[in-house]
C-alpha cells in the first residue's frame, strides 16, 4: 500500500553502454548484410527468384510479428494502467520502436515480387470470377495504400509512446502518462487492425481463393506471445550484464503468466480455426489445411500443434518455473515455434509437393534478423534509460508481489 512506499527509494538511472555488447553489433551487421546480399542475389537471378521471394516473406513477417507483439504489450500497459510492467516497459517500447523498420522489408516484395507471391496481382478483371468479387479490396492501389497505412500508423503509435515515455524521464510530468493512456487505448485496435489486414494481405493473399475470419486473431495470438518471449529474453540479457536490477523474480513470474496465457490463447484460436473448417468441410475453406496436412507438411503441422502448445503448456503451469532460468528456455522455444508457425504458413504455398528446404530461408532470416538486431542495439536501446525512471507507478512496480 502507498502508506509505506517511503521504504523503497528509486534506484539510480542507467543507460546502456554499447561497449558491453562487445562485437555483437558488428557481427549482427555483417551477418545481416551478408544475408541481405545473398537474398538479393537470389531475388535478381531468375531461377532462384520465386524461392527467394517466399523465403523473404517468411522472414519479414516473422520479425514484423515480434515487433508488433512489443507494441501490443506497450499499448496494453497504458490502456489497463498497469503497475507491474513499468520496470520492463522500456524494453517493450524499444521492440515496438523497430516496427516501422521491419515494415520496410516488405518493400522489395511489393516492388519486385508481388506477381510471384500473390497470384491475384497479374490477373485481369474477368479472368477469375472469385477475384472479381474481391477486386474492391485486392487491387494494386489499395494494396499499396494499406502498406503505407501500416507504416505510418504503427510507426506513429510506437514512436509517440516511446517519445512520451522518454520525455517523462526528463521532466517527470504526469500529463505524459495521461496522454500515453489515450494512445494505448487507441493503439490496441489500431495495432489489431494493422496485423489483421497485413496478415490477410501478405499471408492469406498467398492463396486468394482461401479465407478465414480467424486469420488475423491467429497471427495476433502468435505475435503477442512471441513478443512477450522476446521481452523476457532482452530483459534477462540486460540483467546478465548488470543492468535492470529493478527487475526481480516477481516480474519474470508475471511475464511467465502472460507466456502461459498466450500459449493457451494461440492454441484456442488455432484450434477454433481448424475445427470450424474441418467440421464444415467446404472445399474452398479446407484448401489451406489440405495442403498443410498432406505430404511431408503433415509432420510440420503436427509438430506445430505439439511443440507450440502441448510441450510449453504443462511446463508453464508451474509457479517455480516462471521464477527459474527454465523460463528463458521456454522463451527461446516459443520464439523458435513462431518461426515454425510462419514457415508452415508461407512455404507450403510454394512447395505444394512437400517440404523443400532452401538456403534462402536461412539467408533472408539471418539477413533481416541481423539488420533489425543491429538497429536495436545501436539505434534504439542506448537512446534512453533502460527503464522509465520517473514513471509515477515505478515504486509500485518495484514492490510487485504475485
Amino acid at each position: 500500500m502507498s502508506d509505506h512506499s517511503h521504504e523503497i527509494t528509486p534506484p539510480a538511472v542507467e543507460t546502456y553502454d554499447i561497449k558491453r555488447a562487445g562485437n555483437a553489433p558488428k557481427i549482427l551487421l555483417w551477418v545481416g548484410i551478408a544475408g541481405i546480399v545473398l537474398s538479393v542475389i537470389g531475388l535478381c537471378y531468375q531461377p532462384w527468384h520465386v524461392q527467394a521471394a517466399y523465403s523473404w516473406l517468411f522472414a519479414a513477417f516473422y520479425f514484423f510479428s515480434l515487433c508488433v507483439g512489443g507494441l501490443f504489450w506497450t499499448c496494453l500497459h497504458h490502456a489497463t494502467d498497469s503497475e507491474w510492467s513499468v520496470t520492463v516497459r522500456r524494453q517493450m517500447e524499444n521492440i515496438a520502436k523497430v516496427t516501422p523498420v521491419s515494415l520496410l522489408f516488405f518493400l522489395p516484395l511489393l516492388l519486385f515480387c508481388a506477381n510471384d507471391l500473390w497470384k491475384w496481382w497479374n490477373l485481369h478483371p474477368g479472368e477469375d470470377p472469385l477475384l472479381d468479387g474481391k477486386s474492391g479490396y485486392l487491387n494494386h492501389t489499395f494494396f499499396w495504400v494499406r502498406w503505407i497505412v501500416y507504416f505510418v500508423l504503427l510507426g506513429w503509435i510506437s514512436y509517440s509512446l516511446w517519445k512520451r515515455s522518454t520525455d517523462q524521464d526528463k521532466d517527470g510530468a504526469a500529463r505524459h502518462t495521461l496522454i500515453m493512456r489515450k494512445l494505448g487505448v487507441g493503439g490496441i485496435p489500431a495495432m489489431g487492425l494493422c496485423i489483421t489486414f497485413s496478415a490477410a494481405d501478405y499471408l492469406m493473399g498467398l492463396d486468394y481463393h482461401w479465407f478465414s475470419t480467424m486469420w488475423g486473431v491467429y497471427l495476433f495470438a502468435g505475435a503477442a506471445g512471441s513478443g512477450m518471449a522476446l521481452t523476457v529474453l532482452i530483459v534477462n540479457w540486460l540483467k546478465n550484464q548488470g543492468y535492470l536490477k529493478v527487475v526481480n523474480d516477481e516480474h519474470f513470474h508475471t511475464m511467465g503468466k502472460f507466456l502461459l496465457a498466450f500459449t493457451i490463447f494461440w492454441a484456442y484460436i488455432g484450434f477454433d480455426q481448424y475445427m470450424l473448417i474441418w467440421y464444415a468441410n467446404i472445399p474452398e475453406e479446407t484448401a489451406y489445411f489440405r495442403l498443410r496436412n498432406t505430404e511431408t507438411w503433415w509432420y510440420f503441422s503436427q509438430a506445430l500443434v505439439v511443440c507450440r502448445f502441448f510441450l510449453p503448456f504443462p511446463v508453464l503451469l508451474f509457479q517455480f518455473i516462471k521464477k527459474n532460468t527454465i523460463i528463458l528456455w521456454v522463451s527461446w522455444w516459443i520464439l523458435a515455434m513462431q518461426i515454425l508457425d510462419m514457415y508452415v504458413i508461407v512455404l507450403p504455398a510454394l512447395h505444394r509437393e512437400g517440404f523443400h528446404p532452401s538456403l534462402f530461408d536461412l539467408f533472408s532470416f539471418v539477413g533481416i534478423g541481423g539488420i533489425l538486431g543491429w538497429v536495436f542495439l545501436t539505434k534504439v536501446i542506448g537512446k534512453s534509460y533502460l527503464y522509465p525512471t520517473r514513471d509515477p507507478r515505478l515504486l509500485l512496480s518495484l514492490k510487485l508481489s504475485n
Binding site: 500500500m1 509505506h4 484450434f271 481448424y274 475445427m275 474441418w278 467440421y279 468441410n281 503451469l317 508481489s401
Partner: protein
C-alpha cells in the same frame, strides 16, 4: 463473570496497514503459528509478512481439471467409438474425429477445475461458519471499516497471557484484549 469461559486468544489493534504489516513480521519471527490478521481490504505482501508460504490450492485444482478432462474423454469416446457408433457429417468414428471432442474436453476441464477451486477454498477457509469468537470483541466490528487487527490464539504453543500481551504492546498494538470463546 460468573460462568467459566474458555480463552480464545489475545487481540490487538493497529493504526494502519503498514503498522500491521510490521507487527505481522515480528509475530512471524517470534515463532507463533496459530494466529491471523484481519483487515478491511487485502494487503499486498501480507502473505510474506505472515510467512504463509505457497497455497496448496493449485494441487486440488490440477486434480479437478484432470478429472474433468478424463470425464469428457470417457463420456465422448466410449459411446462414439464402441457403444453407439454413429456417422455424423461423414466423419469417421474413431480417434480421427477427435477435433469434434475438444470443445467438450476443454469445457469440462474448466468446469471441474472451477468447482474444485470454489469447494477447496471453502474447505480451506472452513466455510460456511456461523460463529467465530473474535466477534465477542466489540472493537472488532471496525474490521469492515477502518480497523487493522492481529489475533493470536490460545492454542498456540508459545501463547502466554502475560508474555504475549507484553509482546503485542511492545510492537505497537493498542487495546490489547483477551478474547473469550
Amino acid at each position: 463473570m460468573a460462568e467459566y469461559r474458555k480463552v480464545y486468544g489475545l487481540g490487538a489493534e493497529f493504526e494502519s496497514a503498514a503498522a500491521l504489516m510490521h507487527a505481522a513480521e515480528k509475530i512471524r519471527d517470534a515463532g507463533f503459528s496459530k494466529w491471523d490478521v484481519h483487515t478491511p481490504f487485502p494487503i499486498h505482501g501480507m502473505d510474506k509478512a505472515m510467512g504463509l508460504g505457497k497455497s496448496w490450492l493449485s494441487a486440488p485444482v490440477f486434480i479437478g481439471g484432470t478429472t474433468g478432462l478424463l470425464t469428457a474423454v470417457c463420456l465422448e469416446m466410449i459411446p462414439s467409438f464402441s457403444l453407439y457408433k454413429l456417422i455424423v457429417h461423414g466423419k469417421p468414428y474413431d480417434w480421427r474425429t477427435i477435433p469434434a471432442f475438444f470443445p467438450i474436453m476443454f469445457e469440462l476441464t474448466v468446469l471441474f477445475s472451477a468447482f474444485t477451486t470454489v469447494f477447496s477454498l471453502m474447505v480451506m477457509n472452513q466455510l460456511p461458519k456461523w460463529y467465530h469468537p473474535v466477534f465477542n470483541w466489540e472493537r472488532f466490528a471496525r474490521v469492515t471499516d477502518d480497523g487493522f487487527f492481529l489475533v493470536i490464539e490460545a492454542r498456540d504453543p508459545k501463547f502466554s497471557e502475560t508474555k504475549t500481551r507484553a509482546l503485542l504492546e511492545e510492537i505497537g498494538g493498542q487495546h490489547v484484549t483477551l478474547i473469550h470463546d
